[in-house]
Each structure stands twice: as structure tokens, then as C-alpha cells.
Symmetry: C2
Subunit: 258 residues, 2 copies
Amino acid sequence: MANSPSGDSMLDRVVRILESFDDTQPRLTVGALSRRSGIPQATTYRLVGELVQHGLLTRETDGRIRLGLRLWELVARSAPARDLREAALPFLQDVQSVVHQHTQLAVLQDGEVLVLERLSASDSVVNQASVARRLPVHDTSLGMAMLAFSPPEVQDSYRHRFPRVDERSAATRRDFRRTLAEIRRRGHARFDGMLDEGTTGISVPVLTRAGYALAALGVVVPTSAVRQHAVVPVLMAAARGIARGVGERPPDGASFSH
Amino acid sequence: MANSPSGDSMLDRVVRILESFDDTQPRLTVGALSRRSGIPQATTYRLVGELVQHGLLTRETDGRIRLGLRLWELVARSAPARDLREAALPFLQDVQSVVHQHTQLAVLQDGEVLVLERLSASDSVVNQASVARRLPVHDTSLGMAMLAFSPPEVQDSYRHRFPRVDERSAATRRDFRRTLAEIRRRGHARFDGMLDEGTTGISVPVLTRAGYALAALGVVVPTSAVRQHAVVPVLMAAARGIARGVGERPPDGASFSH
């Protein structure tokens, strides 16, 4: 494998170039790409040329570079989470149309919450700007709903990954375990104002046959909203529908008896 | 650049591996990947290992390979056509809710029509299965609506690319030019039963300031539907809204006076 003098492979460098783009910086000059990726400018220039030739990047008329439509096409055609997103979308829209609040589908990825779909409060249009965003696990009902229904080794790896939790006092560590147990018992996670003042996140896991979370479904509602409690059964029913849609048979009364 | 004995670069091989997946074959064994990409099995095996390590591919529990969630995330966060798709989605939903038929947004890509979004007839849910599909240019109202509002060199490159048109008689070639002129005059393209018997495709271009198509917006309606003509102004108004949404100021009465 063609290694550079610094020892990183060609693929490392390609991935670092692709990772340099994000929603705030979708277009970059070659110079900016070089700085963001930490790859020397001459190498960046040559690599960008090759990636443009393959359609993975596009050079705009002003010379700036962005991800290519060919790359979007490859991924859209065979999107990794497409089965789950397709199965979930009608249920997300059902929840949104009953609850009239932000409705989200997320998975655990690399110790963070990765948002797969999000419908805004005002209508049932997918809010693409916030799709593919990452959120912390321990500050969100989405993250905690999944963590509570994860195998012990995942919960352990999470604690290992997030020193913020482990470095707290023993009491807090006990609280953390107790919180997960409580979420399992109730079948849903609820957090007030963890991300935004005045909002409450309520999420339930989408469960596999074995009773583990493959995703989470959640809403963000004003904390003052009446009838918050009515949200949970709506979410639970929808989560079962999503699980069924991807070929899982959620355990009987899973969310309550787990 | 690390060239294999056959002379293709590492990047060639990575792209061929990524291209091997599609909506009918989202999961492949390493053997099938090797066959579909034409890359020797040992090389495929090594490359897959590296791609899995970078999260661009994922190995499932049964050993089969699929595109990685990390790749989806990279692309979703900075999707090449996201500005256009975001600007278009509310208008697609408006059209769909008035017309109640399949509503699509597409661009020209490599001499074909690439579908960016598609709302189904029965509801306004994005039909992800048909997103990123390619359609022929000359058999679809989407393709012809864009071609009619393309610079002469694009129209020429299209004729060059599609011998089916050029190899026909001079009369047909004249028909082709006349068809494009007619679409420009009317501001929309309409084709009966070109893709499916009993359906009519009606599309309008989304125009830049300069009066060229940057995309097309179209519906597929039953040919027998009454009030087909009422569809065109709805599409035209929506196309202007989409153009405005991506910072273009569509020319005054563009579609009629062009």
C-alpha cells in the first residue's frame, strides 16, 4: 500500500480529504483542504485531481472543491442505513402528526448518537440540515434510551470512552447505573433541558428480537407541554412498527417487562 | 500512486469496489465483490480490510460486506446536491399535495437523468428506493425539459453520446431539434407512455438567471387524467420557487418567452 513518508496510507489521506468537508464548509479551496486534512499541498493537489477524475469530488467554476454528485449517488443507491430509514419514515411521520414536535431517529455510532432522520415540529418534512449530526450519548434521551438497552460490554465501552462519567464521584457512577436501570424498567428515557432550556427529550429504543436497541426514536417537546405522558405509548407503538419493518420481532411487551 | 500490475491505481480499485454495491445488491461477499469489481480476490480482501477499518465499508455478522455508516454520514453531512434538494423538498410536497401524483426532482449527470428526490403518488413521503436512480434523457420529460434549456454544446454532446438519435433519419434528427424548440417555446416537456403505458410525464426546467436548466421538476400522471393542463402552471410556479431557493433569480416569464 502506497505509504507516504509519514507512514499514512493513500486511503488514510483520501478519507481525511473526504472528512474535511462538512455542512458549514461544503466547498473548500485546495489550500484549505490541505490545511484541514493536514496533507501537504502538493499531495492534496494531486489527490484532488484524481478524486475529481473519478467524480468523488467536483471542482466548481471558482476552483473550489466539493463532494461529487457521483459519490452521493453511490451512497444514496445503497445507503447503509436505508432499510432502517425507509422502515422508520412513515412511523416518524405518524408520530410527528400526532405529537406535532421534532421527531428523530438515531443510532449509536462510535460512542455518539448519529441522527439518521429528523422531522421538524412545524411540518413532516425531513430536516436534512440536522440529518447526520452527532449528539452526545449521556446528555440525550436518544443516547440513553439506546445505552440502557445495550449489552453490558457496550455500556462498559461507553464508560471507558467517556471519562466525564467515570471521573465523577462514586455516587454519580451509581446514579448512572441506576439511571440506565430505571430507563430499562420504564421502557423510555426522558431528560429535561439537557440540550436546550425549556425542552424535554423523550425517547424509546427500537428493539431487536434479543431485546437490544438497534436505534432510538424520540421527540423533543416543550417541558411545559401538557399530556407529555401521552407521548410515550405513541413512541413505543411506532418503535415496534419500525422493528417489524426491518425484520425484527420486538419482544412481547418488551419496553415494560425488560 | 500505487499502481497494480494491470496499471489501475489504488483509487480506481476503491471506486470499483464502492460501485459494486447497488440497491439490488447492498450486501456482498468478498468473492462476489471481487467478481463484480474485476479485482483479484486477494487484493479485494486486503482492500476491503482497509476500507472496513476506515468505516467506509462494514462487515456484517455473516461476513458479508456493505457500505459503512461512516461513508453515509460523510456524504449526508455535506451532500453535493443538498442545497438544491433542501430548497426543492417543500415545493415538491406542495406540488404533490395539489396534483396527488408521483413528483420528482432530477438533474442531468453524465448524459443521463439522475433522480434526486421522488415523492410517491399516495403520500408525500420521499420514496428513497427510487432516489439516485438514472433514467434516459430522450425518453423522459425530465430529461427533455433540461436538454431543451441547455447550452448548445450540451445538446451537441448529448447527440454525440446517444447514437440512437444521430443514426436515425435526417427527418428524425430534425424532429429532435424541433421537439427541443417546441419544449422551449411551451416551457415544459410532455411525453405520453414513454416509460410506462398509460402514463404521461410532464416536466419543467428549474432555470438559472441565464435561462439554463439546473434541474427539472416533473410529475407522472395517468394519461387519462382530466385537467392535465392545470399541472403545468403548478410546476412552473414551484420551479421558480426552487430556483429562488438556491439563489437564482429565474428570468421574467422565462418559461414562456425563452
